[in-house]
């Protein structure tokens, strides 16, 4: 995690329920390998390109990163494939955190294991409380998200058992800090 204080501020992109991994990164881009820096950036440039055209563009024409850095979504975010490319593509496009009502298991796990973005869960339905392009501030340790555009505060669920893994920067950092594997 790049923000040690756990404060994330940015512009919000709002999504529905059941945003699947084919919408997040269509399968034709799975020939890209996330660990190769150039292809990591490319994956970012295709993030959410599977969305129907009823959504505003997530990444502006000619740009490779998004102006949005926080996603607010409904239920079952990231359902479908185990492709870690989905987490990677969002992170590479500049997303720092997702706030969803709930997650599909593997997406959540990949976000935690890679430490690429904060997968936060909201206490209540938030997709009606944020409009596309509004400003938000997440305070991870306080467990809140503030709608800066309307000055309203909402509670987030605590990260719970995965908190220490997220704080350690992912599964490798966690396993090293607990002596499960050798320090590098």
């Amino acid at each position: 995690m790049d923000d040690s204080k756990g404060i994330i501020t940015g512009t919000v992109y709002v999504l529905d329920n059941n945003i699947d991994t084919d919408l997040i990164i269509p399968a034709c881009y799975l020939n890209l390998v996330p660990t190769i820096p150039e292809e990591y950036r490319k994956l970012g440039s295709y993030a959410l390109s599977g969305l129907p055209s009823s959504y505003p563009r997530f990444i502006k024409e000619g740009q490779s990163v998004s102006e949005y850095s926080i996603i607010v979504a409904g239920k079952n975010f990231g359902c479908g494939s185990s492709r870690e490319h989905a987490v990677t593509a969002l992170a590479a496009a500049g997303i720092k955190a997702v706030i969803a009502e709930s997650y599909a298991r593997i997406f959540f796990r990949n976000a935690v294991a890679t430490g690429e973005l904060y997968p936060m869960e909201s206490e209540q339905v938030l997709v009606d409380s944020f409009k596309m392009g509004m400003q938000a501030e997440i305070n991870v340790s306080a467990g809140t998200v503030t709608n800066l555009s309307e000055n309203s505060v909402f509670k987030l669920k605590p990260l719970g058992a995965v908190g220490p893994v997220v704080e350690a920067g992912g599964i490798f950092g966690y396993a090293r800090s607990t002596g499960m594997i050798r320090k590098k």
Binding site: D22, C28, R105
Partner: protein
């Protein structure tokens, strides 16, 4: 304490007497499965974290089955398979089913049990969400991402949360027009695409016992479409016979306690089930085939890990024998073994290959995932416009088979074949 089959397998893999749902435990893997789409990234994570010269935890337990982007001119896809080849050599991995060689198999989830790598009571991690297929043989099997897989590659272990169990009791006499696909689509339709999120889906009852091992695989394959962590079926004689016909390796069957506590129980009488489809764009959009006869189709697709096994093609051939398809019909066997079976399996003395050719289907494609997940532009069967597709695959998300504008109806091989004959969604009972 009583425990479910999932809890018992995980307890054993964690070296404990018992585990409880929601407990976080380190478990030892018996198998790590990967393929051409997630293998290269997994290998890079492994090297980054354990060093360029590191060795995998067990060279007999990392199994690599390239299957996704095989018959394509796409250079990056070819590069990815090459990087797997290099890694296999470096590491001396025992199991690699290399495309373009006699070892090539095809779709990993059909190849893995077929080659004897799936054994009851074991723990299988795979870099593919449909790894849950292998619970059909009484194993704990689940899909993971590249980073977790890189971790398993180096250590053989993974930190996981013990899932709660949802138990599905499927009772009654199974009608011959009801397939594994109809059963699982009905269940997903009832509980929704997140109805089993983070949970184990345990399938039991007399209807499950009536099903072949391959049909059970179809059911467990789609546990992920309800958000399940794993699908699982207790081994019976059919399972044991199947596994013994594939491998000499010893295994020990684990069964659950019949009075083990589960989070929820669901009871079904399968004799009331009807042939069905899942409408666009979610596997949970259940509708009976008979109620959707006004939906005109452009294409039928029979293939994938969930609908491209030999038993799937036998079902389709029974419907198509002596009849003609009215729409473009694509056939993609999951593995080389299935492809060969199409030549050797016969109905009334006629091979499946001949039945399909006479029915007017396209020439059978070489085994791979093909258009099940869209893939590179030159992928066999990939949609490119507004084609309305009926497919035996497992996902009908927007754009899943290539084009965002091509709606996909999921169905059993019986329903897909009957629909191909009429060019619209059709209840297969009409042709049985």
């Amino acid at each position: 304490m009583t425990q479910t089959i999932t809890e018992k397998i995980l307890a054993k893999a964690a070296g404990k007497d018992e585990v409880r749902p929601n407990e976080n435990i380190w478990v030892m893997a018996n198998i790590l499965l990967t393929h051409d789409v997630c293998g290269p990234g997994t290998i890079e994570v492994f090297k980054r974290e354990f060093g360029a010269d590191a060795k995998v935890w067990d060279h007999e337990k990392v199994i690599i089955i390239p299957d996704h982007y095989i018959f394509t001119k796409d250079e990056k896809a070819q590069r990815n398979v090459n990087s797997l080849r290099t890694f296999v050599k470096e590491q001396g991995l025992k199991w690699f089913y290399d495309p373009g060689t006699p070892q090539y198999k095809g779709v990993c989830h059909v190849a893995l049990p077929q080659e004897g790598h799936v054994r009851p009571g074991e723990v299988i991690f795979g870099t593919d969400s449909h790894t849950c297929t292998h619970g059909a043989l009484g194993a704990f099997a689940t899909g993971i991402g590249n980073t977790d897989a890189g971790f398993v590659m180096g250590t053989g272990k993974l930190l996981i949360k013990v899932p709660q169990t949802l138990r599905f009791n499927l009772n009654g006499k199974l009608p011959d027009y009801i397939t594994g696909k109809d059963i699982i689509l009905r269940i997903i339709g009832d509980i929704g695409v997140d109805g089993a999120n983070y949970c184990a889906m345990e399938f039991c009852g007399e209807a499950i016992q009536q099903l072949s091992v391959e049909e059970r695989m179809t059911i467990c394959n789609m546990a992920i479409e309800a958000g399940g962590k794993n699908g699982i079926i207790e081994p019976d004689n059919k399972t044991i016979e199947y596994v013994k016909s594939k491998t000499q390796k010893p295994f020990s069957v684990i069964t659950g306690d019949s009075n083990a506590k589960v989070a929820r129980e669901y009871n079904y009488d399968v004799s009331s089930f009807l042939p069905c489809v899942a409408e666009p764009h979610l596997p949970s959009k259940y509708a009976t085939a008979g109620s959707r006869q006004d939906i005109k189709l452009d294409r039928a697709y029979i293939g994938s890990c969930t609908g491209g096994k030999i038993s799937d093609f036998i079902m389709a051939a029974k419907i198509l024998n002596g009849r003609k398809v009215r729409i473009d019909t694509f056939l993609v066997p999951a593995t080389v073994e299935v492809e060969n079976g199409l030549k050797t399996e016969k109905i009334g003395g006629k091979s499946l290959v001949d039945i399909f050719a006479d029915a007017g289907c396209f020439e059978i494609a070489p085994p791979s995932c093909a258009a099940c997940l869209g893939g590179p532009i030159d992928t066999f069967g990939r949609t490119s416009g507004k084609e309305v597709v009926i497919s035996t695959t497992n996902r009908n998300f927007v754009g899943r088979m290539g084009s965002k504008d091509a709606p996909i109806y999921l169905a059993s091989p019986l329903t897909a074949a009957a629909s191909a004959i009429e060019g619209k969604i059709t209840d297969p009972r009409k042709y049985m």
